[in-house]
Symmetry: D3
C-alpha cells in the first residue's frame, strides 16, 4: 500500500490557478497534492546571443526552491553564490521540454522565460513545473496572438510531465516525497498532447529495472498525463 | 493627489495569512495592497559560530525577490551568483529589526531564520517583510512555548515597519511603486508595540528634507503601525 | 546512410587501455572511435560528511573536457570559475551509474572518485566515461581486495553506457558528433551486466518520438553494451 | 562619562589633508581622532550603462577597510572573493549622500568615483568617509572647472556626516569604537550645508528609543556638522 | 646520489609526440621522464580587447593539472570555482616565455592559445609545458604559413625551459618530484635557441644561495636546453 | 639618460616610517620615491591547517593596490570578486621572501601575516613591499621577544628586494614606472643581509638577455640592497 493510501495508478489532486500574480505575461500556480510551484512566463523582445539575427525565438527556464519549501530549511542558492547541479539539471529539463512543443520561427525573435519557483515541495517538483509552465506559456502566447505581435499560434502541442516509480516492487504513479525517497526506481516522463514522448528519464535507485518494468511506467505516465492535459485545458479555458 | 487616490495618511489594505505553507515552524503570507511577501520562520537547534556556547539564541533573516515579482523580469540572484547590495542591505535590516524585540537568553541556544520572499512587488517590500516576519516568528515561538522547549516568552514586543515619503511636496503614508519611484524623500520606519523606534531610515531622493518634514513622516508612521499591529494581533489570534 | 558509412547497429572501434597513468589506484584510457576519455579511480579512506559513521562507502564522479578536446576551443571551466550545467549533469549521471553496481556496505567507509577527463571529443563522451570508469573502478577495487583492505567483492555487476538516436528517421547506434548534432532524438542508455537498466534518458531534439521508436533504441543499446562488456572483460583480464 | 573623557557634545579632532596621494583628480586623508580614511576622487569620461546618452553625469563610491585597520585582523575582501553586506551598505550610503548635492546635468556625461579606504578604524568610518569624500570631490570638480571641461559649478551644497548615539543613557556626539560597540542606539546623520538632511539612519542596538531621544541626536549632529563644514572649507581653501 | 641514480647533469628521457589529438591546429604530448603534459595550440582570428585594431597578434597560455596527475588526488579547480595562485603564476610564465620568441606584427591580428594540461606529474611540469608548447605553436604556425594566412615566419627563435636546483648541496639538472620537494634551491630557466635568457627564476627553499651557485645552475640549464632544442627539432621535422 | 635624471646605479629616496598605524603588532610605511606601501604585520596565535601540531610557525603575505594608487583607476579586486594573477604572484613572492629569513621552530606555533597595501604606485611596488615587510615583521617579533612569548630571535637575516632592468640598452637600478613600462628586461632581486640570494627573477620584455647582462643586474642589486639594509636598520633602531 502507498503511504497516502492512493491506488497505484491514482494521481494526487491537481490544481492550476492562472494569474496568481499580476506582472508576468503568463502565470500559473500549480499544485500536485502538497507540491506547489509558482510559474511565470516573461516575454522579452530579445533573444540570447547565439540566436540573434535568425528571425527565430527562444524558450528557456529557471528553477528555484524557496529555502523552506522543504521539511528542513535548505541553504538559499543566492546566498551560497551558485545554483546546485540538481537545480541546473532541472531547469535544463524544463526548458528542453517546453521548446519541444514550440515552433521558434512562428514565435519570432523574442524570448519566453519560464520561472518555476517551488513554494512547497512534496515530490514531483520538476514535473509540476513543466506541466504548469505550459499553462503560463500558453497564456503569454495568447496575449501575443491577441495583440497581433505574432500571427500564427507557435505552440504545436500541449506538454505535460509526471513522475512514476517502482515502490516496494509495484509501479506507482505520481510519487510524493515519502515514496520518492524510498523508491527502487524513479522516472520522469514528459509527453506531448499527441501521445508522443518529449523525454523519458528512468533511473535506478538501489535496484536496476528491466524492460517490462519500464513499459509499465510508460503506461502509468499516459494515465497521468491525460489528467494533466485536462487540467491544462481547464486552466487556459479551452 | 496620490496616483491610487488614497488620502495622504491612508494605508493600502493589509492582509496577513498565517500557515500559507505547511513545513515551516511559522509562516505568513503578508500583503500590503499588491505587494505580497511569503515569510517563513525556521527554528534550528544551533546558532552561528560567533554565538556558540553562550546559552543565547539568534534571529537572522534572508530576503529574495522572485525574478518576475516586478514589472519587468529581474535577473535571478542564484543564477548571477551573488546577492545584490540592495538585497543584503534589506535582509540585514529585517534581521536587526526582529532581534530588537527578542530576548536572546530566553530564546535559548537556537536560531530562528526568517525567509522573506517577495512574490509580487509594488513598493514597500522590506517593510511588509518585517511586519510579516513578526507574525511568522510569533507563530514559531508559540510552538516552542507549547512544546515546553522554552519556558518564558522571549518576544518582548510586537514590531512593525512602514514606508512613508514626501511625494509632490506632501508627506504620504505607505508608498506604492508609482510613488516610491517619484518621491523626493523616502523613509522606512520601524516601531515596536510600545511606540518606540527600532530603526529610522529617511533618505533624500532628489531633494533634501528638513526636521519638520522628518517629524511629519514619523507621525504618519505611527498611524500606519497602529493598523499593522492590529493585523498582527488578528493573524496570531491575540 | 550514416556520415561514417557505418551500419545502423554498428559501433565504432572501442579500445580500453588500462594503466595509462601511474599514480591512480585505477586508470583507463577509453576510446569510442575518435572520442577519448582518460578515467582515473582514486581511493580515499574517508567519505563525504553526509555518509560519515555509517560504515558504508561512496562512489562519486567528476567530468571535465580539455579546452581543445573539441573542434573549436571552449572556455576552460577553471578559468570561468564554474562548471557548466552540462558538466554537472554529466558527472551526476556518471556517479549515479557507477553507484548502481556498488554494494556500499562491502566497500566500507571509503570513497572512490572517478575523474573523467575528455582528451578528444567526437560524440558520446558521457557514455564512454561511464564505460571506462567501470574499468578504472574494477582495477582499483581489485587492489583493495588483493591488499586485504576489503574482504568481499563489492562490485555487483558490470555497467556500460551507450548513446543511440534517431538520425534521418532511422534508429542508429553509437552516435558520433556529426550524427549527434543532427539527430531527431538522442538517448543515453546505461545497462548492467545482467541486462537490466541503470538509467534510460531519451530526449526529443526537434521531433518527439513514440514508444515503438523508444523500444528500438533500447534494442540497439543491448547490442552495443554486449560489445562494451566484452571490452571491459578484456581490459580487466577477466 | 565617556571613555575618552570627552563632553557629550564634543567631537574628536578632525583633520583633512588634501593631496595625500598624487595620481587622483581629488584626494583627502581625513581623520576623526584615530579613525583615518584615504579618499580619492577619480574622474572618468564615461558613465555606467543605465546613464548613457542622457547628457548627465554620475557619482558613485566604493569602500574598503585594510585588513589590519582594526584591533584584530579581518579577512581581506579581495581574498574572500566578495564584499560583505556591511561594505556594500556603506558604499551605497556614501554614493547616495554625495549624489544628493550634485547637479548631474551640470556635471555632464562623466563619472566621479569616490574610493574610501580605511587606513585605521576607531568608529565612524562611514561618516568620516562621506565628509572626506566631499573634499576630494570638490577638488576634482575645481579642476574640471579650471580646465573648462565644465562651465558651471555642479556642486549644490557641502555635505557632511557624523555619528551620534545613546551611550549609557546619554546622547553623545561622534562615537569612537569603545562607545559604538556599547551604545544602546547608534545614528548616522548626513546634513547638507544649508542645514537640511540628506539621510537619517538611527538604529536601536539593545534598547529601542523614543522621538525625544531621536531629536536630541539630530541636534547633536548639527553641532558636529558645523565643525566638519569648517574643516571642509579650510581643506579646500574656501 | 640522486634518488633516480642520474648524474648531476643528466636529464630524464624527453619525448615529444606531435598530433596526439586531432582537433587543435598544433598539438604535442611532451614527457620529461614520468612528467607528461598534453599541449594544444589553438589559433583564433581575434585578439583580446586590449590588442584590438593594432594589426598585431597575441600569444597566451592556460595551465591545468588533472586531479589525479599527482600522487594523491587534488581538488579539481573547475569544481573549486577558481584557479590557484600557483596555476595562475605558471600560466603567466608560459605565455610570457612563448611571447618572447614571437614577432606579433608578423603573426597578424590573431591569437594563439596554448593549453597545457598535465596528465601525469613528477616535477618540472611548467618547464615541460613551455618546451612542448613551442612545438605545438611551431606546428600551428607552419599551417598558417602553408595556407598563406601569414607570409613570413613570425617565430624568431626556439624556446625551451628546464628546472635545476641544489639538492643535498649539489647543483643538479631536471629535478624530479623527489628532488624538487627536498631541494635547497629551485630554479626554472628559460632559454632561447640563440643561447639567451627569456626568464630566470631561482628561489631559495630553506637555504639561500650565492652567485657562484646561481652560475652553476645557469650552466646546467644550457646543457639541458641543448637536448630539448634537439627534441623540438625532431618533433617538428627540422 | 633616465627619465628621472638619475645615474644608472642611483636609487630613489627611500623612507621607512614605522608605526604609521596603531593597531598592528608591526607597521611600516615604506616609500621608494613616489611608490608608497603601507605594510602591517599581524601576529595570530594559530597556524594554517597544514602546519598545525608541528610546533612551528608560519609567515604569509597579502598584497593589494588601492584602486587609485595608479595613474588611471583600476577595478577594486574585492568588487571584481577575485584577486588577479599578478596580485597572487606578488603576494606569494613576498611570503616566500620573508619565510626565507625566519626560523619557524623558534617562532613557535603562531602566524605572522604581512599585509602590503599600495597607497601610491610608481614602479617597484613588490620590492618596496618586501623591504618594508621586513621592518614590520622585525617590530612585531621584537614585541614577542620583549613580552617573553618567544625566547630566541627567530629572524635569521635581514631581507631586502630591489628591481633592476635594462632600459635603452643600459642596466639601471630601481626602475620607476616610466622605465618599467619601457624596459627590455626587468628583474626583481631579493637579497639577505649576508649577501646571498633569496630569489632572482629576471624576465625578458621584448628582448632576451645574456649572462653578462644578468650579472650586471645582480651587481646593481647589491648596491641597492646595501642602502635598503641601512634604511631598515635606521627604522628599527639598530
Amino acid at each position: 500500500m502507498r503511504p497516502s493510501g492512493r491506488a497505484p495508478d491514482q494521481m494526487r489532486t491537481i490544481t492550476m490557478e492562472p494569474d496568481f500574480t499580476v506582472h508576468a505575461e503568463g502565470c500559473c500556480l500549480v499544485s500536485f497534492g502538497q507540491t506547489r510551484v509558482l510559474v511565470t512566463a516573461s516575454v522579452e523582445e530579445r533573444v540570447p546571443p547565439f540566436m540573434r539575427g535568425k528571425g527565430e525565438g527562444w524558450v528557456t527556464a529557471e528553477y528555484g526552491m524557496l529555502p523552506r519549501a522543504t521539511h528542513t530549511r535548505g541553504q538559499r542558492e543566492a546566498a551560497k553564490g551558485k545554483q546546485s547541479g540538481r537545480t541546473q539539471e532541472i531547469q535544463r529539463l524544463i526548458g528542453r521540454s517546453l521548446r519541444s512543443v514550440m515552433d521558434m520561427k512562428k514565435l519570432g525573435e523574442r524570448q519566453i522565460t519560464l520561472d518555476c519557483d517551488v513554494i512547497q515541495a512534496d515530490g514531483g517538483t520538476r514535473t509540476a513545473s513543466i506541466s504548469g509552465a505550459w499553462v503560463a506559456m500558453r497564456i503569454a502566447v495568447d496575449k501575443l496572438l491577441a495583440s497581433g505581435a505574432i500571427k500564427e499560434d507557435p505552440i504545436l502541442q500541449k506538454v505535460a510531465a509526471i513522475s512514476c516509480g517502482i515502490y516496494k516492487g509495484t509501479p506507482v504513479l505520481d510519487l510524493d516525497y515519502d515514496e520518492d525517497s524510498n523508491a527502487e526506481a524513479d522516472a520522469n516522463l514528459i509527453l506531448t498532447g499527441d501521445g508522443k514522448f518529449a523525454e523519458v528519464q528512468a533511473t535506478a535507485e538501489g535496484a536496476t529495472y528491466d524492460e517490462e518494468e519500464l513499459l509499465r511506467l510508460l503506461r502509468l505516465a499516459r494515465i497521468g498525463c491525460t489528467q494533466i492535459f485536462a487540467a491544462q485545458d481547464k486552466a487556459t479555458g479551452r
